[in-house]
Each structure stands twice: as C-alpha cells, then as structure tokens.
Amino acid sequence: MSDEEFEYTDDSDSLYSDSVDDDNFKIEDSLVKHDIVQYKQHTTREMMETLHKKCTKLSEVLGKPHDYVVTLLQSYKWNSEKLIEDYMDDPQDVELRLGLSTVKLNGEHHENTGLQTYTEEAPFSCFICCEDKLESYKLKCGHEFCLDCYRTYLNEKVKQANVIKCPSCDVALTPGDIDTISGTNGSSVLLENSIKEYVERHKTYKWCPSPDCNAIVEVLNSSDIAHLVDTNQIPIVICSNGHRFCFNCGFESHVPAPCNVTKQWINKCKDDSETVKWITTHTKTCPKCDTSIEKNGGCNHMTCRKCAYEFCWICLGTWDNHNNQYYQCNRYQYEQAEKNNKSAKDKKLQDEATKKSLQRYLHYYNLFNIHEISTKQDKSRCDVVENTVREVQEGVGISWIEAQFLVDSASTLLNARRVLKWSYAVAFYCDRGYSLDLFETVQAGLADAVEALSLLFEISDVEVIAKKKLNFLNASKLLEDRQRAMVLATEETINNGTLRL
C-alpha cells in the first residue's frame, strides 16, 4: 500500500457511506497505516451500525422487515451465508425452527398482539406472578403475560441468549417486541452480545486486550498475518483508545520478542510462576541491614532508609558499580553460577543441569517481573501525569503545550520499558555467543536509559521539573534511540539463528 497520506479520522459518518459493500469496507476513509499490518479501528457503536447495515441489506434480499432479519441473523450467529443458504432451501422450515413463523399457530389465529391494556374492573390475571395487572404483552402465539413479569424474564434471559423466546413456547421475540416490553432500548443489549459473537466468529476482528477497553480492531490484510508471524515479525496494532497490542497473540505489545517466543515464555512463566512467586515475594531485604524493603515505584537505585546503603534493586549489589557504563546486572554470570554449582558436585549431572537452567530462568524471570511491576507503576503514573502537567503549569506559569513534554516522556518510558521487559524473554531463549554479547550490550544501554528517565520522574518539585525540561527531552530522545537499537539488535540476533525454542 502506498497510501501514506491516509490517517485515521474519527468521522464515523463517512465510514458508512452508501457504497459500503457488506464486509468489504471501502478503505479510503479511515485506514490506519502501519509498517506491516493494515487495519482499521472500530468502536462498539460503529460495530453496531455495521451489523444494522448488514441487516438492512439482507432485509432487502429476503424482502422481510428489518426486525425479522435481526432475529434471523442473531439465531444464525451472524453467519449470513449459512442463513441465506438455508432460507433459500426452505424458508418455512427456517421460520418454524426459529419461532418466526407467520403461519397460523396451533390452528388459532391471534389478531390482537402486542401491548394489551385492561381496566380495574376486568384486570389481566398473569400466570407467572398470579396477580391482577392492567398491562400485558401478547405474542402471536397467544401467550400473554403481564409487563412486569415479562421485564423480569427479559432481564434474566438477556444475559444468556441471542434470541429470546416466549416463556411458554418457541416463538421468538423480535427486537421490536423487546423494546416495547422493556420500554427502553432493551434489544441493544442483545445486539451487544451479537457484536461479541460477531467479533469472535470473524478472524479479521479482535477486541483490544486492555482491561476496560471496548475497542475493536479489524485487520484488512489478515491473510498476511500468518506469514508475518512465520517470519518473526510482530503484527502490532493500536486500538482507537491508543492501546498497542499484537493482533496475532491478542496480547499486549511484546516487541521485540516474536510471537512464538512470547507464547513459550508466557507458558513457561505460568508453569514455574508458583515456585518463582514463592522465591521472589514483593519485598526484598536490604543487603546490608536486612530491613525488608518494598519498592513502590521509581527507579532501581535504592537507598535504604535505615542504614542509607545505596544498592541496585535488581542485583542487590552496591550502586557504585552501576554508574556510567558499568550496568552489568542484565548479564547472566556464568562463571559465578559455575562456582555456586560446585558445591553440589556429588549430585547427579541431571540434577545440576536442572538447577542451572532454573537459576538461569529465575534470573531472566526476575528481570522480566521487575519491569512488569514497574510498568504497572508507570501506567498509574501516566494516569496522574495530567495532574502533574497542571501543577507545573500553575506552579511555574508555563503554557499547557510547553508542559506536554511530561506526557510524552511518560509514554516513551512506558513503551521502552515494555520493550526492555520483552527483550529479557528473548535473551532467555538465546544461545550464549557473540551475538548475545552484542544483544546484551544494547540491552544494558536500554536499561540504563530507562533508569535515567525513570529517575527524572521521581522529582516531585514542580519548579525543578520545569527546570529539567531539557533533561526530560534528552532522556526521552536517548531512550527512543536505544529502544530502536534494541529492536534492531533483536532482529539481528534472531536472524543469526541464536534463538533456541
């Protein structure tokens, strides 16, 4: 695609022009262009309109009312091909099966259907609640129940099914019936259920995996996804709420780790997580005075409140070693591990190998986990960064646009930390060698830059923040560069064939 100039617009009206042709949307209006995946962002409201569009089209084909078609499609789980096939074969059978038959039922013909009203003198006696009521609803099967009972019934059923049937027989309620009974737009809940089903049934659609996000992404070149995954490329998409995720895995963006590495890593973490959780609880003890310390945010440069000892949260070594280029704790120390293992010499060789591999795994899992926890803290910081921006604005008297660097830096940090986190998963599956040495050097650089920016966010004094704007910008720039380098280094490492799954 060379349509570089296209950008996503929120103008949903233009999306549903008359020329929209069933599933194959015209892609001029709102195409989101990404390196390798072409996709479109949808909201649930837009999906609802898509479904309605589908119904309108089918209702023209079948020559039936819109309501009727909605119920048909809901029964067929929105598989319109199957529906048309069955319907063309034997329309009466389909109608009968779905409770939509317009033929007389049980030989009786019930003219007066829909909402019924009664008087105080001659009220309606409802079978369900056994009370006298003034309002009821009657379907064409002749079964009649009071509105209150019908409402309760609908509320109960709406959670379970796509199509609601008469409490007494198999006659289906159309969206019109449901809306009249509920007095509101009750049928839209059913339609929301349908959207869920529609998205799950169609492989080109996927829900954004972020919690509380209802956005949907539709991939336009879905046939390419499998090829991308095979060639270790990651089909990252961004939902309309700005969440990045992998379309293949339906999981948060795991750049630079390829999908197969991610899958293996997640499975491994699941298997071993209980052991690891047991070993690494949320607290660590100060290496000097053994005070329990919980890290509730910020960088990995820790200072013990009690003994003022400065250490690194990751390797628990003194922080002095971590300044400048000497960031070493991302490397797995093979020599050290050998030494540790010598004490267990008399043990079986098998045991040793297992232990070693567990230690190696623990090393990477720890790193991964530390950044996972930090990511959560970063996320909550992103939520409050708007407040900080306002404080900086008010406290120092600079404009909103000038204070935006904070928001940008926060999201840069979040993305970079995610990249760093997943690079540890890649490292775990890599063979020891020259290529990994290079990889780890780049990784150390990235970790360093993450720490640097993270440290800046520890500042709470608004004036200092404003003064350090240049530092923020520089740190972000450096971080972005190193993040890119990390992605490239990963690609190279994988291309060199050092990945062992």
């Binding site: 079978f127 369900i128 609640c129 056994c130 009370e131 079964h143 129940f145 009972c149 309760t152 019934y153 109960e156 379970q160 409490p167 007494s168």
Partner: protein
C-alpha cells in the same frame, strides 16, 4: 411477593388435582417443600418410594427451584433412585431445572418430568461421572453447571 403468591396458587392447584404416584408434603416454610414419588410401572423402582426436596427462592418463578432427591431414614426412605441422570447425592441432571427453565414451568411440571424420567428409564446405572461429582459437588445442585449431553433417557 410474586414468589409467595405464585407458590400458594400452585399448592392450591396441586391439592385440587393430585398427580398419580406423587404426594406433596408441606413444611412450616412455604419456600421448602417435599414430594414423595413412587413409580410402580417400572420394575426398576417397583415398591419403592423416593423423596424430592424443593427449595424455592424469592426470584421464583424466574429462576427454577433447587430440586434434589433426599433420604428420609425415619420413614424408611433410604435410597436415591438409580438412574443415569441422578447422582448418588441426589442431584439431578435435568435441563428443565437449569437452562430450559422458563417462568411458565411449575412445581407440577417438574414433578411430572421427574415421574416420567423414572418411569421411562431402563438402565440401572449412575451417571458416568458419579464418583468424581460426588466428591466435589456443591451443596446446592443449582451451583453445578450440568452439561446436558444425553437426551435419550
């Protein structure tokens, strides 16, 4: 209130028009009632009386009553009917008591189903997962999500 009215009306109906082989036993609480079932037509259950317990909630009739077979040692009811859909602990796997329930069903319709359930059975066996179910079954049969895999019996 709806539940109470409805139960009272159903009980009056059951009193007026009794069912063959079924006796209703009331308790002080109208939300709990028992019924005894005897199925003489089926040699599997000949000369046996079984007891069913109904526990009804305020949401009735929009949700089904919890219904299970129980023992009553004092009165000599010591067994749970052997049936491919009835577990040793008395829980019943019947879609009417779960997904197929609608508010137009009644205690009477449940009893009729159970009666024909027993009358038509020819297999003297427990459900295939009886032993594993028995160990982990919840107290209330409604908390079990049955899979209604077999509608031949």
């Amino acid at each position: 209130m709806a539940a109470r009215n409805r139960i009272l009306k159903e009980l009056r109906g059951l009193e007026k028009e009794t069912l063959d082989g079924i006796n209703i036993e009331l308790t002080d609480n109208i939300y709990v009632l028992f019924a005894t079932i005897s199925v003489d037509g089926n040699p599997l259950y000949k000369d046996q009386v079984y007891k069913v317990k109904f526990t009804i909630t305020e949401e009735y009739p929009f949700t089904p009553p919890a219904c299970m077979f129980v023992k009553d040692i004092d009165r000599g009811i010591v067994s749970i009917p052997i049936h491919p859909h009835i577990y040793t602990n008395g829980h019943i796997c019947l879609d009417l008591l779960g997904t197929a329930w609608t508010p137009v069903h009644t205690i009477r319709s449940i009893l009729l189903s159970l009666h024909s359930f027993l009358a038509s059975n020819t297999r003297s066996e427990r459900p295939p997962d009886d032993s594993s179910y028995f160990k982990h079954a919840p107290k209330n049969p409604k908390d079990t999500r049955f899979v209604y895999h077999d509608d031949t019996v």
